[in-house]
Each structure stands twice: as C-alpha cells, then as structure tokens.
C-alpha cells in the first residue's frame, strides 16, 4: 500500500489556483525530491498533504482519507519539517526534539522509555547530541535546521515531508542530511523533500517530481526528469547533465535564451 496517494488534487490560495490536477503516489521506502521553480507549488503541495491548506481531490495517507483522520492520528503517520525555522521560546534542544513525541503520548502522560529512545536516536542521527542542553533560539541557522529535522524524526512517522530541508546548510551538512534521508528510506520510511539544489536532488533521490505552475510536468527517476530539454523549458536554464559512475551530475551553467533572443 502506498504511503501517500494523491489524485485529482487542486488547491487555491487567495483566489489563485496554485495546484491543479495533481496525481502522486509515494511508496514505502521511497525518497522523492520535489523540484520546480519558485512559485511552482512545491510548498503548497506538501502542506496540502498535511491538510494545512484547503484542497479538493483525494489524499490518502497509508490508505486512509486524510480529511477523516483525527489530528493526532495523522501526526503518527506523517511528520513535517516546515521551511520556517522560527522558534518562539528558548527551550532546550532536547525539549524541542521531545516535542516530536507528542502525538504518541496521552495528554498528561510522562515520557516512556520508548519516547526517550526515539529522542536519543533522533539526536544522534542529526549529530546534535552535543547541543542537547543548549537553548534552541541561540543556535546558528544550520544547527536550528538540524534540530528541527531531529524533532520530525523523533515523531517516527512512516512518511516525512520536508520543505527545503537543506536550505542554509553548509555542503557537509547538506550531504549528511541527504545521507540521513537515504538511510530512513532504506529502513522503510518514505521521504518527500522539496529542494532547489538540482545536483543534490539528482544524486540522492530515488525519484523526482517536477512541478511547474501548479502541475506535475515530470515524475520519474532523476535521469528521466532532469533532461536538458525539460530544464530549459521549466527553469529557463542551460545545464550540464551527465551520468557518471557515482550517479547523475547536474550543473546549471547559464540562463537559457528566451524566444525573443532566439529570433534576434
């Protein structure tokens, strides 16, 4: 059964149709990269899959209708890392990561061994054990990003939706995070992450979904999505695309000539 099955999905924000006719199926253990230019609808698609924006069409999470799921039940199936990294209060990193255990706990229940283990695992996986006692608001942007992902990992949902998780991370931490997502996928968690770095997307994702103007224009293995032709049409760029032993390498080189320029 698919983790996420979307069909006929449409959504409007402020009167504008931002998603049209979306059909998407994510199976267990898949690492899907969501790509597309700014304003293509990537964030909205992720948020629609959490029920955060009003939408029409069908969204099934582990076979259940999203709109009929109780909020806490939904949170046990899907976790989310928002693009916004604003943390309102100076709570400790450990307390922040522990928030991910909320959906698994009763209203006034104390943390169980399982909760503690999940928090430890998440801290370790994101390499932030050393930060555990620090105030989350005092961290650098990159540290905050890792802490917030650890929070989502502690939620231990089968599906992880991440909005621009690598934005603002240095190359080493970008690669480390991609490795984390890969490992999660290998252990059966499905990951859908929106990203702008086509190189990372090409090398690490099982599958890429390319959005343009609220529609899916391509969906498949990186090599079939990241063609020079599609990149030129959708992004308006020329890119160097080549298959190497280590995987697909994509490097944007320059802006594509517009039609006007071609005519001249």
């Amino acid at each position: 059964m698919s983790r996420l099955a979307v069909s006929n999905l449409a959504a409007s924000l402020g009167g504008n149709r931002v998603l049209k006719d979306i059909a998407l199926d994510v199976g267990p253990g898949e690492f899907v990269g969501l790509i597309g230019p700014n304003g293509a609808g990537k964030s909205t698609l992720l948020r629609a899959c959490l029920g955060l924006v009003p939408s029409s069409g069908d969204i099934l999470i582990d076979g259940q209708d999203l709109r009929r799921m109780a909020p806490q039940d939904l949170a046990r199936h899907v976790s989310y890392v928002a693009q916004d990294r604003d943390i309102a209060w100076p709570i400790t990193v450990e307390a922040l990561v522990d928030l991910g255990r909320q959906p698994h706990r009763g209203a006034f229940a104390r943390p169980t061994e399982g909760d503690r283990a999940a928090v430890e695992a998440a801290l370790e996986r994101m390499d932030i054990i050393a930060l555990r006692a620090r105030r989350a608001t005092d961290l650098s942007g990159g540290e905050k990003a890792r802490v917030l992902i650890a929070r989502a990992l502690a939620q231990q949902a089968g599906l992880l939706l991440a909005d621009e998780p690598v934005a603002g991370l240095d190359p080493a931490h970008q690669l480390a995070l991609m490795q984390v997502f890969r490992d999660l996928a290998r252990h059966g968690t499905s990951v859908v992450a929106s990203m702008h770095d086509l190189g990372l997307a090409a090398r690490w994702c099982d599958r890429l979904v390319l959005l343009e103007g609220g529609r899916i224009v391509a969906d498949g293995p990186p090599a079939t999505v990241l063609t020079a032709d599609l990149l030129r049409r959708v992004y308006g760029i020329e890119a160097y695309v080549t298959e190497t032993g280590g995987g697909l390498v994509v490097q944007p080189t320059r802006l594509a000539q517009t039609k006007n320029e071609q005519q001249n």
Partner: protein
C-alpha cells in the same frame, strides 16, 4: 538538578509563598486586629465583630486576590504562548479594558441589580470581543507589533466607552468610579463577589490549563504544531473562551489590573526552561503571589487612601514592558 526537578521545586516554593501571602493578607487591614486573634476568629463559630470583619471583608479580599492574580498570570502565560508573543497580556491587548466596559454597562444600566449573573456575563462578552478582534488583527503569523497595536486600539476604545457610560450615569459617584474600572481594587469586596466570579474563573482556568501541550507545539509555529496533531481550531476556542471567561470574571469584580500577565510569565520563563506548558501553572502561582503582595502593599503603604492596585502593578510593569520592547527591537535589527 534536572529541569523537571527544578520545575517541581519552583512550583513548591511558589505554592508556599502564595499560602504565606494569603495568610498575611488576612492579617492586614485598616482595622487594628491582632493577627492571631483575627485568624482564630476566622474559624470561631460566633458572631463577634472581629469574626465579621475577618469572614466578610478580609477573607473574600484574600480569596479574590489569590484567584484574580492566578487568572492574570495564567492568562498572560497562555496568551503569550498562543500568540507566540512575549508582549501579549490581557491588559495590553485590551481584554481587561473591554471586560471593564462590559461590567460597567451591566452595573450602571441597573442590569446587574436585576440579574447578578449579568455582571460576569457582560464582562465576559466584552473580553471575548477584545480577544477576537486582536486575534483577527494579528493574522496568522501574529507579529508582536500588530498584536500590541491592535491592543492599543481596543484598549483606548473600550476606555473611552467606559468613561462615556459612566458620564451618562445619573449617579454623581459614577464618574469617580472610572478609577476603579481602569486601575482595579479589592477594597471591601464581599463573598457575593467571590461566588459570582469564582465559577467563571475556574472554568477559564481549566480551559487554559488544557492548552499546555498545544502551546509547547506552537513554539515551532502554527503549521508545525498542526502537523504534530494539535487541533488548531480547538486551541483557538480554548484560548479565546478561557481568557474571556477568567479575565472577564476577574475584571467584573476587581476592575482592570494591568501588567501582572506580562511581568509574571516573563520572570518565570527562564525558571521553567521556557516551556509554555510548564509556564502555565507557574505563572498562575506567580500571578497570585504578585497580586496578593500588591494588595498587601496598598494597605500598608497608604492606609486609608484606597490606593488602586493597577497603580502598583503599573509602576513595576511599565518599565518592564519598555525593556521587553527594547529587547524585541534588538532582535528585529
């Protein structure tokens, strides 16, 4: 010491301080009653004059001081968590002023004389309007500044309408009573007031107290909180009605007392590891501490002058507010 152990210690200490101040509040008053004699008269089943003073004047005053302080502290902590805004507070966002307006309308039209429940209900309605307006104005991102600006507008409007209502009253004393409604006092309240306000306050407390987990989750923003299983519509309902009920009832019997909801959560936040859920109980106790202490102080510092509580809380609170604004400005820069 772990954070949890420190939290428990803090709660225990605060609870003891509240108990101590409660007893102290019973022993302070314009009439000279020896403390021990007074306290024993409280429990003696006779109709002595001292017993009358203790049971009918000082006891309700102490109870209201405790309950209203707890209400202001708790609602301040809850509003800050809910709006993700360290400047939010029932006084500053206009809830108290609007509750005053509701109470003033109930009293000076004679409605509350016909139906006593009209007093807390009208105050609640006033408070409800203010919370809804501020919530609406603040928008989804609830930027600190827009919340405060909306609060200024609401407060000013409610204050003006309150003085209009008092000016229009045929009773010559009504106009002087604007001081009570804007600055608050516990002087010569009775058990009647306690019974009128307490149920609403307790009802509001229960609603606000149930917000703990949701407020923790809201640390990471509305969308992340929603993704963690927090039902945002339920949270909105609880926060709005809980604040309106508890602050409305408190204001109906004691007037608008400012800044308690701002100072208390702010002082206690570092002591509870900044966790919004833990801040709730701590701020309730802290608010009770502050208001009981302030109410003792007004009786000791200026006996016979009926100093208003809001004067004391503003003297401490206003500089506090300015410091917080400075800090917020530095963060934005």
């Amino acid at each position: 010491m772990t954070e949890t152990a420190r939290y428990r210690l803090l709660i225990a200490v605060l609870a003891m301080v509240v108990a101590l101040l409660f007893v102290l509040s019973l022993t302070v008053g314009p009439a000279e009653v020896a403390p021990l004699q007074g306290l024993s008269a409280l429990f003696a089943d006779d109709d002595s004059l001292i017993g009358l003073v203790m049971r009918e004047i000082r006891l309700p005053r102490a109870i209201l001081g405790l309950m209203i302080g707890a209400t202001l502290g708790l609602s301040g902590a809850a509003l800050q968590g809910y709006l993700r805004n360290p400047l939010a507070e029932p006084g500053l966002i206009g809830v108290s002023a609007s509750a005053s307006l509701g109470a003033v309308i109930a009293i000076y039209t004679g409605l509350s004389a016909l139906m006593p429940l009209a007093l807390p209900l009208m105050a609640l309605a006033g408070a409800l309007c203010a919370v809804l307006v501020v919530r609406l104005m603040a928008g989804a991102d609830a930027r600190p500044l827009s919340v405060i600006l909306a609060g200024v507008a609401v407060s000013t409007f409610a204050g003006a309408m309150t003085s209009l209502a008092l000016n229009l009253s045929p009773n010559p004393f009504a106009a002087m009573e604007i001081m009570f409604w804007m600055l608050g006092s516990l002087t010569d309240r009775s058990m009647i007031h306690v019974w009128l306000a307490a149920p609403f306050m307790v009802f509001g407390w229960l609603m606000l107290a149930s917000l703990g987990r949701a407020l923790d989750a809201l640390t990471l923003g509305h969308e992340t909180a929603a993704s963690m299983g927090v039902d945002m519509r339920r949270v909105q309902r609880l926060a709005v009605i809980g604040t309106a009920a508890s602050v409305g009832a408190a204001t109906a019997v004691a007037g608008a007392i400012g800044f308690v909801g701002l100072i208390v959560p702010h002082l206690l936040r570092p002591l509870v590891g900044a966790r919004p859920s833990r801040l709730l109980l701590a701020s309730a106790l802290g608010g009770a501490t502050l208001l009981l202490a302030a109410d003792i102080l007004v009786r000791v510092v200026a006996p016979g002058r009926d100093l208003k509580l809001g004067v004391l809380t503003a003297v401490v609170g206003a500089p506090f507010f300015l410091v917080l604004v400075l800090r917020a400005r530095r963060q934005m820069a």
